[in-house]
């Protein structure tokens, strides 16, 4: 996946908050060059981004704290340019250049 040509990547910002950053090397903000096409040569969407993050960015072995059944686990909100992904088409949303994708883990403490 890292062998795509330079023109074939999309620059995006991915952010983690609510404790999820601990699964991603304790880094809240990641500037990424995401491959423009997924494994089936379809335009990269959120589902592909989640797989890509698991395989290429996440060092923590506890993948189940981020994904479940090939999708983001319950209790994580996905926000595309500061809007709930439900407003944008959920994991079918096709990622655009300079999109900001924010993963928020719900908190329960008080």
């Amino acid at each position: 996946m890292s062998e795509t040509k330079d023109g074939d990547t999309i620059p995006i910002t991915v952010e983690f908050t609510g404790g999820l950053e601990m699964l991603f090397s304790n880094q809240r903000k990641h500037e990424l060059k995401l491959p423009a096409k997924d494994e089936s040569e379809e335009p990269a969407n959120i589902a592909f981004l989640v797989r890509y993050l698991c395989e290429n960015v996440m060092k923590d072995p506890r993948k189940d704290l981020f994904v479940l059944d090939d999708s983001v686990r319950p209790g994580i909100l996905v926000l595309i340019n500061d809007a709930d992904w439900e407003l944008e088409g959920e994991d079918m949303y096709e990622i655009q250049r300079r999109d900001n994708i924010l993963f928020v883990s719900t908190l329960h403490g008080g």
Partner: protein, 291 residues
């Protein structure tokens, strides 16, 4: 019957003067607050500042529900309590503070945990509910009950250096009405896996972080009581991020929501009969401590 010529007592004009002169509140708004009743579920890190500012503002009736007693490890963030009241029930301790801040407020103590059996009778007499609790199970229970009773809900949470705030079921229209505000299940249809849930006891919490979220709950409560509803949004806070605050546009009601849609399966009967087992639903790692 003789009509009173002044809608507020003389001392109330004095006490609330700084709010009364604001066009955003005014006499009209102050009377709405005086005639309102708010239930605060949990007087911990969120509930303490929320209760203080709502009592200060002159909300007529405030109910407080909590089953815990004050511990020394609470005091760095639960600023209504005090060292000499360690061991007292949190509800009783909060009553001491709130009645000395504003004796005009009618306080109702509920010194026990909210359960599916007690939720409807406990919450039904209030206009508005604040979720200041600390488990997923209690958050689903409170949201479901607010839908069943048509109450708006101000929900906040905090952990370590992060916080979240959302106003739910506002406007509080009947289940099936897509114009009502979303509920907790619309936003989180499935509970998080129990191993992903971290409490403040386990993960830690910085006092002003949960404090900010609690004060914002009081503010949102005043807005719900005096203004027309705004589109649903989630405020997320992170003390070391820049900017610290971020506001997210949320979805409207989910067409197939288990609680607030026309095909809802959460009913008053299911709740009170105990057939909705929230601890089971949330798969608590340690059910004894949940709810």
């Amino acid at each position: 019957v003789m009509r009173r010529s002044w809608p507020l007592e003389k001392a109330e004009y004095k006490r609330y003067g700084r709010q009364l002169i604001m066009p955003e509140i005014g006499l009209q708004g102050q009377l709405r607050l005086k005639n309102a009743s708010v239930l605060i579920v949990g007087v911990g890190g969120l509930g303490c500042p929320a209760a203080a500012y709502l009592a200060g503002a002159g909300v007529g009736k405030i109910g407080i529900i909590d089953g815990d007693v004050v511990e020394e490890s609470n005091l760095h963030r639960q600023i209504l309590h005090s060292t000499s009241r360690v061991g007292m029930s949190k509800v009783e301790s909060a009553m001491v503070f709130l009645s000395s801040l504003n004796p005009n407020v009618q306080l109702t103590p509920h010194p026990s945990r909210l359960t599916p059996e007690t939720a409807i009778p406990t919450m039904k007499d209030y206009d508005l509910v604040l979720d200041c609790t600390d488990t997923p199970a209690s958050r689903y229970l409170i949201s479901d009950t607010c839908i069943l009773l048509s109450k708006p809900l101000v929900s906040a949470s905090a952990l370590r250096i992060d916080g979240q705030l959302v106003v739910l079921n506002n406007p509080p229209l009947p289940p099936g009405d897509p114009k009502g505000g979303p509920c907790y299940r619309c936003v989180f249809p499935k509970p998080p896996p129990p191993e992903s849930v971290v409490s403040c006891g386990d993960g830690g919490i910085l006092g002003p972080v949960v404090g900010v979220m609690g004060v914002l709950q009081a503010l949102e409560a005043l807005k719900v009581l005096t203004r027309t509803p705004e589109p649903p949004s989630l405020t997320i806070f992170s003390a070391h991020a820049n900017p610290m605050f971020r506001t997210i546009r949320l979805r409207s009601r989910k067409p197939k929501c288990a609680a607030c849609s026309s095909s809802a399966t959460v009913t008053a009967e299911a709740l009170t009969s105990g057939s909705l087992d929230y601890v089971q639903f949330c798969g608590a790692v340690n059910p004894v401590e949940a709810l």
